[in-house]
């Protein structure tokens, strides 16, 4: 395995329970995450992202396939691997009975960090997530965004080579999300390899150098956000909404041939085209009069929709 590959999986399978015919949560995925990358698993709930993450985090034995994390086998070297990981779980697992600084202290002791070094390190860690003034406060009194930031500081306490973040911004308000994204970009600038799962396409687009799109336990696409968009959809999307009952019955047929592709949605038609304005002009030329026309940039959501026929968030 190349030195700069931090995670490598071939045909990785996870099946819960003992029934060999049960549908696997992860159904044979291949991936390679390189050092310094911010790598994402994008997919809807139940796609298998968290199961994949748990295997990488060495807290869930794999059912089949190959997996190497930091060059080691999780089945044999789980403890040694976990000693080099920083984990930000989906639900907060902060100790509500301890204050903010003690949460970092206790967690650092799990890694057997020397007590004195740990005490010296904690103020800087809290500062890095803008919680320096909350060191003595109870965790209870923190907002959701602050708790997430504290969890990130906690994951960094052991100076990990690889940070795993499972749905890091689920449940946060937009302001808290942007603050958190900022922290993750900062980590990336410091060269820390990060893997995150998300079902927010904007998060994946904003943060990830490279990502895999998962659906039903399988990887359905892989690449950088820009590559995925270029490969699976065109640059722009025209959304056409017709007033109730005003659209001609054969509007789908009438739109055929405009742009690269036309998709019928429950409430609108979408025309994929490299030049959205030209596509709109063509629609008008054909004598169609949608109530609303919107030209926008294509997103990963469009990629997912194209690949699976469904949206990311139901």
């Amino acid at each position: 395995m190349a030195d700069d590959v931090v995670i490598e999986a071939h045909g990785l399978v996870k099946r819960y329970g003992t029934n060999p015919t049960a549908t696997p949560a992860v159904d044979g995925i291949d991936l390679a995450v390189r050092r310094g990358e911010l790598f994402g698993f994008l997919g809807p709930n139940g796609a298998g992202k968290s199961s994949a993450m748990r295997m990488i985090a060495c807290v869930s034995p794999r059912t089949g396939g190959e997996l190497r994390v930091l060059g080691l086998d999780p089945d044999r070297d789980g403890r040694r691997i976990r000693a080099r990981l920083g984990v930000v779980p989906q639900e907060d697992t902060l100790d509500l009975e301890l204050n903010v600084a003690d949460n970092l202290y206790v967690y650092g002791r799990f890694f057997d960090l020397p007590r004195r070094a740990l005490r010296e390190r904690i103020p800087a860690l809290l500062d890095s997530v803008s919680l320096a003034d909350r060191a003595e406060d109870r965790v209870d009194s923190l907002s959701g965004g602050m708790k997430r930031r504290l969890t990130i500081a906690r994951a960094m306490v052991s100076d990990p080579e690889l940070v795993l973040l499972d749905e890091p911004t689920t449940g946060l308000d937009p302001h808290a999300r942007h603050l958190l994204w900022d922290r993750l970009r900062h980590l990336k600038d410091r060269g820390v390899t990060q893997v995150l799962t998300t079902h927010y396409m904007d998060e994946a687009e904003q943060l990830c150098d490279r990502l895999v799109v998962m659906d039903g336990g399988r990887i359905v696409a892989e690449g950088s956000p820009a590559e995925l968009i270029a490969k699976h959809v065109s640059r722009e999307v025209v959304e056409l909404r017709f007033a109730d009952g005003q659209a001609p019955a054969d509007v789908g047929t009438q739109l055929a041939g405009i742009g690269d592709a036309v998709e019928a949605m429950s409430d609108r038609f979408q025309v994929f085209a490299d030049d959205g304005d030209a596509a709109v002009a063509e629609v008008m030329t054909r004598g169609l009069h949608p109530r609303q026309v919107l030209v926008r940039r294509a997103t990963l959501e469009d990629v997912f929709l194209k690949l699976t026929g469904r949206g990311l968030v139901d």
Partner: protein, 257 residues
């Protein structure tokens, strides 16, 4: 190798409760010492006027070792059920622990060690107070401390093995009402099992609490043979080992499926 993995988890529990520890210990002492004062002295006054029922040992001195074992047993019940459930379902301490070099078995052992440590502090204080009630009537009386801790520790491990598998806490109250409390009342803490009908008596002999009571009583006051105490230790030791083995499996299944 550094600090043993399990002790790193124990440190979390210790740090979490150390400020409250004096209060919780006083609360834990209130019940057994209340029983000892009210039953030991109050009822004991009448018992001791009787027919030499307890082989010449005053009732208060006879009752004390039973309460010592029963307190450890009840402490094990509370910690082994709710604090385990809370660590899985509410606070997520176990999940945080196993994301680090700690394994599920370290989370288990570390939590168990903390429960046993707290139990030992309570039992030591209890035992000291009992000395003033004249309950130390054999040179081996101080050994009742490890005896009580073995009783509580074995039972705690058994409850932890089960509690970690629970999805809801509804059944805990049932265990409390229909297992813990009846044992507390009928496993020989307050009166000799000879007073029970044969069926109930043999049922009581099979329970961990009776073995704990018998062991602590044998170490503190005269009247129990060495063979019986050896059997008590063997029973509790086997229970502890078996419960721990099962608990390791159930922690692994629950925390790292």
């Amino acid at each position: 190798m550094g600090t043993p993995l399990a002790f790193r988890a124990t440190a979390q529990w210790w740090r979490q409760t150390r400020r409250r520890l004096p209060t919780t210990i006083v609360v834990a002492l209130l019940l057994p010492l209340g029983y000892l004062a009210s039953l030991g002295i109050g009822i004991g006054h009448y018992v001791d006027r009787g027919d030499g029922w307890l082989a010449g040992v005053p009732y208060a001195a006879w009752l004390a070792p039973g309460l010592l074992a029963a307190t450890a047993f009840q402490g094990a019940a509370t910690d082994g059920l709710w604090s385990v459930y809370g660590a899985v379902k509410w606070a997520g301490q176990y999940k945080a622990q196993i994301a680090t070099p700690l394994r599920p078995r370290d989370a288990l052992l570390g939590h168990w060690a903390y429960i046993v440590l707290r139990m030992a502090i309570v039992a030591a204080l209890e035992l000291a107070v009992m000395a003033t009630f004249g309950a130390w009537r054999r040179p081996t009386a101080a050994l009742a401390l490890p005896g009580a801790v073995l009783t509580g520790g074995a039972f705690a491990a058994a409850l932890m093995a089960w509690a970690v598998t629970r999805e809801t806490e509804g059944s805990f109250v049932v265990v409390q009402r229909f297992v813990i409390t009846p044992l507390f009342l009928f496993a020989g803490t307050f009166f000799p099992l000879a007073e029970l009908p044969a069926v109930l008596r043999w049922f009581a002999y099979a329970t961990p609490l009776w073995h704990g009571v018998s062991l602590c009583r044998g170490l503190m006051v005269p009247g129990t043979s060495g063979a019986v105490m050896a059997a008590n230790v063997a029973y509790l030791g086997v229970l502890a080992a078996a419960a721990m083995t099962v608990a390791v499996r159930s922690y692994e299944r629950r925390l790292a499926p």
